[in-house]
């Protein structure tokens, strides 16, 4: 046999690799790159804190009966400032505990963003894949729809849909689902058109693998990175847009939702009662910022130009 050219990285003959250890090492390498960016770490820290808050809400603030997502009412302590015993962040005009709203609001936000992101990712990936793989008139038609959707600003569009559906938290979720899938469809289609031409896809065709397997094993895994980045960014954006809709009054009053709290508390700011809207507002800001920091970090770390040639 001919002599082998020198390997790119020295091989350690004593290391016994299995598929499992090698994959594990790769994931560790990738997470190492992601975590080497301090702003990503800060964002991640806040995300974990917010998730803990949402998960352990019943322990942090005993659930209101019968519906824990409704603000509890303490009619004896209406408009108390922060520091009032039993109400460390004060109360609202209706005697709602602001701390309760902050804590349970994280749950509401998590529900909102998780539902909307998972629904829109599935819809977007399916429609984008269909357009990219089938092509022709179907692609044309789908992309025209996408163009129309993209020409309307997200907030205005969601606002219009929510207004038509009528004010309720469920309708906010629904309207965001209708609006937010478009970007995923567009990203997915572009990725598919790019990857479909890749030599490794051609190689899989020469082997004789089925179209479905090629999609599942070659196209999808290589197309999904930008979708994951966008989904992370949207986890933040959706809460922001959702809160804006709530603020305008498209949600139900009295629920433990940050946008609603900001909306209901803002009237008091003029009379010096800043706390009822400031704390929930701060939460919205932290939530959106945290996911955007991590999303941007992921985008840099998973950039295909650097990812595989490290």
């Amino acid at each position: 046999m001919t002599q082998i050219d020198t390997p790119a990285k020295p091989l350690d003959p004593l290391r016994h690799d299995t598929a499992f250890t090698v994959r594990l090492r790769r994931y560790r390498e990738i997470s190492g790159t992601i975590l080497s960016n301090p702003t990503t770490v800060i964002g991640l820290f806040f995300i974990i804190a917010l998730l803990c808050m949402a998960i352990f809400a019943p322990l942090l603030a005993p659930p209101n009966v019968p519906d824990p997502y409704q603000m509890p009412r303490d009619w004896g302590a209406v408009r108390s400032p922060p520091g009032t015993p039993g109400h460390p962040l004060g109360t609202t005009n209706q005697g709602g505990d602001v701390l309760y709203g902050v804590i349970w609001g994280s749950r509401t936000s998590l529900q909102l963003s998780l539902i909307v992101v998972s629904v829109t990712v599935v819809i977007g990936v399916c429609i984008g894949s269909l357009a990219g793989l089938v092509g022709g008139w179907l692609d044309e038609a789908l992309m025209r729809v996408v163009d129309i959707f993209l020409s309307i600003p997200e907030l205005i569009f969601a606002l219009a849909v929510a207004a038509i559906l009528g004010p309720s938290f469920t309708n906010i979720i629904l309207s965001l689902c209708i609006v937010f899938w478009v970007k995923y469809a567009r990203i997915m289609r572009a990725q598919i058109i790019l990857i479909r031409q890749a030599d490794y896809v051609q190689a899989a065709r020469v082997i004789g693998d089925t179209r479905f397997n090629i999609f599942r094993r070659d196209i999808l895994p290589n197309a999904i990175t930008p979708i994951a980045v966008q989904a992370t960014l949207d986890m933040g954006n959706i809460v922001l847009v959702g809160a804006t809709l709530s603020f305008i009054g498209l949600s139900e009053s009295g629920i433990a939702e940050w946008g609603v709290l900001v909306s209901e508390g803002q009237a008091g700011i003029a009379s010096g009662r800043w706390w009822a809207s400031t704390f929930p507002g701060l939460m919205i800001f932290i939530w959106a910022l945290a996911f955007n920091l991590v999303g941007d970090g992921l985008r840099d770390a998973l950039d295909p130009k650097t990812e595989d040639k490290r």
């Binding site: 046999m1 002599q3 390997p7 003959p13 020469v206 004789g208």
Partner: protein, 427 residues
């Protein structure tokens, strides 16, 4: 003696060296050129235009030509990755007898088609892009075996180790990602994958062009060794003539989608008949040419494959062109396109045929200027000789060229063919 990996696939009676394994007949692949908002077709890139050749069992056919002449398109049609516009690719799936319409790869029965798929494999130029970056070597090389249900689990791993060892890699490389290897090693992985199903033919599209020279030699030697051991046929696509000389039994030269010369490699290198092949050979400095032979070099640019030149497509660049090589109105158009000062006063071209046209200019002076150019040595002498009518009336220039016949491949004996008016007469 050849070693068969899988005796099940061997059909003793139908695998004799020298039998035609694959036959390309009158193959055309035209890519539509779309333009405008409605994306209407405004023309076709004639990437492959009427190509025929055979590949016999166990032999290497070298396919050479400049960039853009259609080599990749042709090899993708052969590998079944692209549907030809017309023409056929026939493949011997062991049906017995001579190749016939039932052996067309696009008309095969399901069972035959599966055999074709197994028996024709491909290695790509870009060693990085041809391996899925998210898969481990064991999955990449084992995939053909899994797809065709030949092995799974531990047996699959052992088969992959065997294949890796055959290409000079080993067990220690099983669980690695493509980016952890050097270019040459990645190409070995690609070769191992191509070998997995024990094919009859491997299409190699510039398999070494992206590699360092020293690594190139190793890969070429490996391919040579594998061919001996496994009785493989190769379609070896390259623009590097020294590689062809080293590897190929027969050589096919392509120019602008056409085969211009074709024959045993030794004959081609000793006695090339087509001026294009000669120019390619002359452009290769490390070959021991006959010092007395006139040295022809390639000048000018490759014409647009959407509007290929008439008759002999090489006539726009040919140093020994004759008046019968296909001079046409387009040659004047190409001249105008390359010279802005002539082009700028042109107001319209009305063609009566591809040989005859009236060129209208804004001024009489401009028409006269072109007239002068067409009679000067700025155009080839052969083109001047082929001009039957050339006159200026006012600001209009009339021109007509002599008609010429299509110049097809001419047999020159012992399998040597060339498409040139001089073929067999010039040496």
């Amino acid at each position: 003696m050849m070693t068969m990996q899988n005796p099940m696939t061997e059909i003793a009676t139908s695998k004799k060296a020298g039998d035609t394994l694959l036959s390309v007949r009158n193959l055309k692949k035209h890519f539509p050129i779309k333009d405008g908002v409605l994306q209407s077709t405004v023309g076709h890139v004639k990437a492959v235009d009427d190509v025929s050749f055979d590949i016999r069992r166990g032999e290497t056919v070298g396919l050479v030509g400049e960039s853009g002449c259609g080599k990749t398109t042709l090899s993708q049609c052969v590998a079944g990755l692209m549907e030809p516009t017309s023409g056929e690719v026939l493949f011997d799936t062991g049906r017995g007898g001579t190749l016939g319409p039932e052996d067309r790869i696009d008309r095969m029965s399901g069972k035959q088609k599966a055999k074709y798929r197994r028996n024709v494999q491909m290695v790509f130029q870009d060693n990085f892009a041809s391996l899925n970056p998210r898969n481990l070597v064991v999955d990449i090389v084992g995939r053909p075996l899994r797809v065709h249900g030949e092995a799974s689990g531990g047996l699959l791993t052992e088969r992959v180790v065997e294949l890796l060892e055959q290409v000079g890699l080993g067990r220690q490389h099983l669980y690695r990602y493509p980016h952890q290897f050097s270019g040459g090693q990645r190409q070995r992985i690609s070769i191992a994958r191509a070998l997995a199903l024990d094919p009859d033919l491997i299409v190699l599209d510039e398999p070494t062009s992206a590699l360092d020279v020293s690594v190139q030699a190793q890969i070429l030697n490996l391919l040579g060794d594998l061919q001996q051991q496994r009785h493989l046929a190769y379609l070896f696509v390259t623009h590097d003539l020294s590689v062809v000389r080293h590897m190929a039994d027969r050589t096919v030269t392509m120019y602008l989608g056409r085969v211009v010369e074709h024959g045993p490699t030794e004959t081609i290198f000793r006695d090339a008949q087509h001026p294009y092949t000669k120019a390619l050979l002359a452009a290769k400095p490390d070959l021991d040419d006959d010092p007395d032979a006139p040295i022809a070099t390639l000048e000018g640019t490759i014409p647009d494959p959407a509007r290929p030149p008439k008759a002999c497509r090489f006539h726009t660049r040919c140093p020994v062109a004759t008046p019968d090589c296909g001079w046409e109105v387009d040659d004047i158009v190409r001249l105008l396109e390359s010279d802005d000062t002539l082009f700028e006063r042109l107001s319209g071209v009305s063609r009566k045929s591809e040989l005859e046209a009236e060129l209208a200019f804004e001024t009489e002076e401009a028409a006269c200027k072109l007239w002068e150019v067409l009679r000067s040595d700025r155009v080839p002498e052969a083109m001047r000789e082929a001009t039957e009518i050339l006159d200026v009336k006012g600001s209009k220039l009339n021109v007509r060229f002599r008609d010429s016949d299509e110049i097809g491949l001419r047999a020159l004996g012992s399998g040597h063919e060339a498409a040139c008016v001089h073929a067999g007469r010039l040496s």
